[in-house]
Subunit: 596 residues, 2 copies
């Protein structure tokens, strides 16, 4: 039996008179008394089927439920005048059915497939297989498919080799967030699932593979509230004998191709680059959203000795005063301006001084304290013109910048400055190599410990590590970090120095990264790479706001799958086979004692 | 700094006179006193570099070790007459170096990269990054890359959608061989890693995705001695509204394209099809190697009442006598024929009767017991001609067929009948749905419990399940099972009947496969699919005999990675976070008690 000769989107006037077979779901049914219309739906579209050839056929059709799966045989004919639907691919024709086979009955559905209205997100996840019948998820999965192929074709054409790296690996440095997989062969030993193929792609470079890529599934057991998933896909790339410029050029060309192949848009390359320190001081963020201005400018010089005590005190205590010019917002009412104070405080600012630039110059306290030429100078400093609104905040430098960075985003949302159709990429380059560990004297690598320090900073590794900058680079899209990458260390001695700076001594380093250190000693080429968050990228291309909408079977924010019920309780017997048992009812100390 | 203007395989006579940069590994070094030659190697090839411009440069080159990574700048020139190497892509030219930069020093290597001789397999796995520098692995990884792209392009062109299914899933039916992943959020609960995306691809069909494919990593915690890996890649395909013929046509076209895209060979399609029962009775195997004859034929009729007591007894006890004709092997000496008995016994046969078909007819005991016309008839039955050797064995039917199937392979190896360049595909169709569980009264699914029974056998599901045949199909290549696939059950009631037959009652079914059963009740299309073992396929295309040679970072037969040392012992603290502890030093019974 052939189920279908055509899909439900194919038939048109040129098929009139043909005998055809279609198969699909019963999308809508209209009962006109003597005969019945149904819209038959498959992945590709819908076709109107009429049951008007016999009362028996009409009766069978009458008894169909929503989402019953049927096959029909029939003849294509023109729709009657006035019934043509120009908005539908098959709108010129209808099929008059001669035979109907019911392939599968559908119970009453827990969510409506044909409704315009979106079902609740819990229902959508629980019955994902029904949600997938809706146009939104279908469109997103197709876009994702295209993006996957685009990335692979791009790399293949350039001579990159796709290598599948292992999923059952040895624990990685950020071990605390690794998923572990107990070994049956060796009870007490475990694999871990990779947070990224980092060490393996470096091994490939040392193995002379020269150009590698992979669409790699990665795993991270971490807080999922910020729209993260325990498993995610990254575009993983590594190249030998390259420098920053090569990676930038490569990535920009990939993104250009990817955007074109998926949504048909041409994007401008090269992408703007911004030094990490500048990103922090101008945007209050290491992932600046370039779609709007609202640049942060330091204004200490204007306020010290100005007589504005609150700000003067901050400056005297080593803090800073920062201003932002909000274009065209000078006309906001006092009430509207006061309303800005709440998000400012939510983002961590002590207060927000808002000063309209009116025909009479700056108003409010600044208007009172600052003479006209100083006002002019301040406005010039902030690139402000009449009709703009100036916002000022003061406090500890780092905290205030970060708070202003967050406020910047809130204001952009409030004032609708984010162009949803714009794709504003930028590179953030030259970040610090290390950062302090919270509540500790130690430092840790900002990216990962295989990132090369800037050549000229190498002698500061021991003496002044927090002022060592690195050869890392982030790609940012619309204020979202899309990728991290770096020139890697290819000198085993330098690698050990970096380990030492973050408190990993030689013995520990050998234990944790032994194979990489040894591999580096057998002739490692200079190499660099990048890893792009594929889910997030597809999300932005699809115009979605959560990655759950571009993953076929995602997990909730407590890492569970509502569809299959994973994770599930495990039988004690299964654990025993792995040499493990539950300590659910014991405290950690009890377990510790029991171990001794 | 640009590391290179060309790769080490690019330069030829047309580049003579150009100033170029190359980077790569020091492959070979020859010291001609005044000046030094090195072969510089990268992924793409080798180039001869001469250090003859200054004594200092020559001295630096003299001190290079094997596998040191260097960059050189120099000028391309013709090789002197008589020094041209036509076997080398860059054999017309050499580069006279003006500058050398040592990028990376190499310690003495534990395995030789440039030797013809293959290092030991343990060394190769331990230092995989060095093994990858050898041509063999590089060639294999490139072939694998091409195969990956071929499969994806093929499916994309046909409108299939690649969907990434989850790796952290709920445990599957064959749970005992699942790798489990403890959940941190819910101590005592676990995910498992998929043995295949079976349930998810069925969910996609129920979701209306129509045509799905994926190059899916799968995991199975099982005996690895038979050249298996704990993680492997499968070409996973599922389609809606299709029947067996559609899957066959699709798979054959994919294989044709894949073989062409990778090794350039045209293969014949369609592939021969053989009924499962015929495969067993003719080849003694459900994965017949079609490259050679050595067909098995049942010969009971000839031996009952023949006076050959040993065989008569077997027949009387319900067993069978089977013959194989070995073409052209009639001339083997008695000694050579006796030597066949050992592999026969190793494969499980009680004995092997070998009878040359000589000018005087059949010799030995059959010659004595069988009259001439009976001899002629027997030879005709076995398609034997003069000069052939007839082999006979008797015993319990199933065991003897299986033993002869294994013997058939041994003989083919012994007599070199396996054409390494031939790709002999065949479909094995219509296998039984169930098989008995060893040492138990129960039965289990031969493939998996989602396989559809043959329509006409459905009423035997309860009464005579072992005689229910299924709509499954295996693709076999050169005697190796390449894939399994089937028409799936899309009727929830039929699915429950099949579960029941294998001892899974409704409650258990709901617990284990609840979401699938529910999904089937909301309008499931008829669907079918196939899963091809990608590693094994690439292995055969590459002419390799172990899948370890076509996986970048494989594991040993105790599932450990010699390169990174996985699996590794885990800190008790890490286990405690997961609500687990080791019971290594307790017996299972102790643990059981402690649990209560």
């Amino acid at each position: 039996m052939t189920y279908r000769t055509h899909t439900c989107s194919e038939l048109n006037a040129s098929n009139v008179g043909q005998n055809i077979k279609l198969a699909g779901w019963t999308a809508r049914k209209r009962d006109l008394g003597g005969f019945i219309f149904i819209d038959l739906r498959d992945k590709y579209g819908k076709t109107q089927v009429v049951f008007d050839q016999s009362p028996e056929l009409a009766q069978t059709a009458r008894e169909l439920h929503s989402e019953d799966v049927v096959q029909i045989e029939g003849t294509v004919r023109h729709r009657p005048d006035g019934m043509v639907n120009r908005n539908m691919k098959t709108g010129e024709i209808e099929v008059t059915a001669a035979v109907i086979n019911i392939l599968s009955r559908a119970n009453h559905l827990p969510l409506e497939v044909e409704d315009e209205e979106e079902p609740g997100s819990e229902l959508r996840l629980r019955y994902r297989y029904l949600d997938l019948r809706r146009p939104r998820m279908r469109k997103n999965l197709l876009l994702r498919h295209k993006a996957l192929q685009s990335v692979r074709n791009f790399h293949t054409e350039l001579g990159f080799i796709e290598v599948e790296t292992p999923f059952l690996i040895r624990s990685t440095p950020e071990g605390a967030r690794d998923y572990i997989v107990p070994s049956r062969e060796r009870p007490g030993s475990c694999y871990s699932l990779p947070q990224s193929p980092q060490l393996y792609k470096q091994a490939l470079m040392i193995g002379g593979i020269d150009k590698y890529f992979q669409l790699a599934r990665c795993f991270r057991d971490e807080d999922l509230r910020r729209d993260r998933q325990p498993e995610f896909t990254q575009i993983d790339v590594e190249m030998s004998f390259v420098e920053e410029e090569d990676v930038f050029t490569h990535t920009e060309a990939m993104m250009q191709r990817l955007v074109k192949d998926t949504i048909g848009t041409d994007i401008q390359i090269p992408f703007p680059r911004i030094e990490y320190d500048d990103a922090i001081s101008k945007y209050g963020s290491d992932a600046p959203d370039m779609r709007y201005e609202l640049l942060i400018k330091r204004c200490d010089d204007f306020f010290s000795g100005s007589g504005f005590k609150a700000f003067e005190n901050v400056i005297n205590e080593g803090g800073g005063v920062f201003g932002i010019c909000a274009k065209g917002k000078g006309g906001l009412s006092r009430k509207e301006r006061e309303r800005l104070e709440e998000p400012a405080r939510t983002q961590g600012l002590a207060g927000l001084l808002s000063v309209p630039f009116t025909d009479k110059g700056l108003t409010g306290i600044i208007g009172k304290l600052f003479k006209e030429d100083k006002q002019t100078e301040l406005c010039k400093h902030l690139s402000a013109e009449k009709g703009d609104l100036l916002l000022f905040a003061a406090g500890k430098v780092k905290l205030t910048l970060e708070a202003l960075g967050r406020l910047r985003r809130k204001l952009a949302q409030l004032w609708d400055l984010e162009d949803k159709n714009e794709l504003a990429f930028c590179w953030v380059v030259n970040p610090p190599l290390f950062e302090p560990i919270e509540d500790s004297d130690g430092i840790t690598a900002v990216h990962h410990p295989f990132t090369a320090p800037n050549e000229e900073d190498i002698d500061k590794l021991e003496s002044d590590p927090l002022n060592v900058y690195s050869r890392a680079y982030d790609l940012v899209l619309n204020g979202i970090e899309m990728s991290t990458g770096s020139i890697r260390i290819h000198d085993p001695e330098l690698q050990q120095k970096v380990f030492k700076a973050i408190g990993i001594d030689n013995i520990e380093a050998k234990k944790r990264f032994g194979f990489l250190l040894e591999a580096l000693s057998y002739g490692a080429p200079p190499h660099a790479g990048i890893a792009l968050g594929f889910d997030r990228l597809v999300m932005l291309l699809a115009g979605e706001t959560t990655i759950r909408n571009i993953i076929a079977f995602p997990k909730t924010n407590v890492a569970s799958s509502l569809m299959d019920g994973a994770p599930a309780e495990i039988e004690p017997e299964q654990l025993r086979e792995l040499g493990l048992k539950l300590i659910r009812n014991e405290t950690a100390e009890d377990a510790e004692k029991a171990e001794k």
